[in-house]
Assembly symmetry: C2
Homo-oligomer: 389 residues x 2
Amino acid sequence: MNNFKFYSPTYFVFGKGSENEAGKYVKRFGGSKVLIHYGGGSVVRSGLLDRVKASLKLEGIDFVELGGVMPNPRSGLVYEGIELCRKEAVDFILAVGGGSSIDSAKAIAAGVVYDGDFWDFYEGKAIEKALPVGTVLTIAAAGSEGSGDSVITKEEGMLKRGAGGEALRPVFSILNPELTQTLPAYQTACGATDIMAHVFERYFTNTKEVEITDRLCEAVLLTMVKEVPRVIEDPNNYDARANIMWAGMVAHNNLVGVGRDQDWSSHGIEHELSALYDVAHGAGLAVIFPAWMTFVMKQDINRFAQIAVRVWGCEMNFANPEETAKEGIERLKKFLTSIGMPISFKELGAREEDIPLMVEKLGLGEKGTMGSFVALTAKDVEQIYRLAL
Amino acid sequence: MNNFKFYSPTYFVFGKGSENEAGKYVKRFGGSKVLIHYGGGSVVRSGLLDRVKASLKLEGIDFVELGGVMPNPRSGLVYEGIELCRKEAVDFILAVGGGSSIDSAKAIAAGVVYDGDFWDFYEGKAIEKALPVGTVLTIAAAGSEGSGDSVITKEEGMLKRGAGGEALRPVFSILNPELTQTLPAYQTACGATDIMAHVFERYFTNTKEVEITDRLCEAVLLTMVKEVPRVIEDPNNYDARANIMWAGMVAHNNLVGVGRDQDWSSHGIEHELSALYDVAHGAGLAVIFPAWMTFVMKQDINRFAQIAVRVWGCEMNFANPEETAKEGIERLKKFLTSIGMPISFKELGAREEDIPLMVEKLGLGEKGTMGSFVALTAKDVEQIYRLAL
């Protein structure tokens, strides 16, 4: 096991009606002038925004609003948010929505207290401080409600890049599974895929002797395998929604990833798909992950056999563990198909002829690599895209 | 799933040599005058105390010391610590040791900033505030390094009682598995039993639809089943020690217990054993838990069958699930015996004739009950003690 640090100081408020406590927690964590940041119409139409505003008013907290966050959130709105916060002397950002709204809120929070261009952080500059961010989550997917990460797309060149730091961890996050019940099946499945992908990125490691985090990873995956089909069948199944929503947080606050090298190349490979076609991140991951697994499997056949047996319930083929490993990948594909996810370029609407462009945009050049389980060159990535055709 | 709140803001620093960072983290979390609080000679003899002091000096942090914490820590030393902190204007408590030192440090931290008798908190008064506590952990067991709980024994009447609150969560905890390698096998096994018991208390619940926390509980238990025999065989197995140490934190910061009713009667029943005979808490739990399980099993045969299959690897007896449930309890007993734990009054050195006294001290009276999975009366508890003979 590697040395590590783990810090997840977010205060989680989970359950029915919890959004009505938003004002109480903004106050507890020192907010007096709030930017409410959100996406599209559903937050407004459902009455959620009104309930959140009412809870702020109840505590006497002043606020301004900025809606319009899009999936794969853009830098343009971040600049707008930073300007608004400075003008209005905002001291707390409250994101209401899914990972996109939260990621955009984090970018604004870091940008407001920084003299330069916030995009510097997405080019690798360390984030020293940020305004406090609270969240009211409406989609179980990105895990941004419990993480210190944020992913933003820069319109110029459609560059999709991530930034992170302790200062970006939300001070509180409100998770009401009821709010996810109106989500269409496709988006629910995209979110579920994203959650599982966050575990895969951590599970496939060359670090030895990490049984506790292996088992915790498997706990999240087993939960998803049981609960996701239940919400696809019945979108109003509160308990299945609740299990998925909490699994989504656990999958990404890094509890299941400490003490081990993590890979994260599949996320990078996918980012080019969603940046180019503006497809849902989860759908892109459903296409990329089985291809990546097939490409890297031989790095550690027994680890792939382990997930096949422990998560997918395969019988171990002791005479030929590679068969078990392959069977696990097949079961993942069947699972993704069964919940309505694409597993190929064709199903996603991506084009073979764009592969060279996507590879180039990853910027690996002649000698660069990405990922740690297997260090992938540009040629390897091209092969993975082709395996996903 | 029940509504819940989850807040685990402790900064964890895990791995080899991490105790040398104690000073850095005391500084980060605002300490300028520290009470170092510890137990017996091993912390001194091993040189750990000197390394911690050196790290404080390096940061220019002043400190005073109070050693002498005993297993099942006593109120007398807490009063002494409170007095010392006030006299020396201490603003930060650093516990160096196991759960006893940490629990004692938490009691002092709450007592220093309280006008009344600190024991009020252990009689049920809510803890509003406390000095910040940091820890350098030397035993994987109590989980106090990540919890807001503290258990203290009052000499007068040997009353063992718990208190808890958000203010008692350590601000940082340093976990170096190397520090646990010198621990004798018996104490290692006691600690492991305590860790598993923290999961059992949460696992056996009447709350339905809590798959994610079921699976997380099982993840911790599966890790223990694999790793504990390895450290009993080879005390210097760093990786096995590391997995157990992190499992001990996960078992008790309440991540595996949110959203469900928890039981905790076995801890109460055991407290009378360790208060009366001053036996190790883990050894007492090894005696009580199988008896408690046998007594309450019929409340939910399928839950007991589930743990038997998922954790103990039993084959499900579909014709007679009760047999599977019983087999799971038998496997637990065999496991405890294999790591050197007592599983009966006789092995522990407890006496049948003391049972009425222990039952009386629980203070349930005629109509009181304890526990939530099954609400136990004084008569039930007596039967459980007798099942453990």
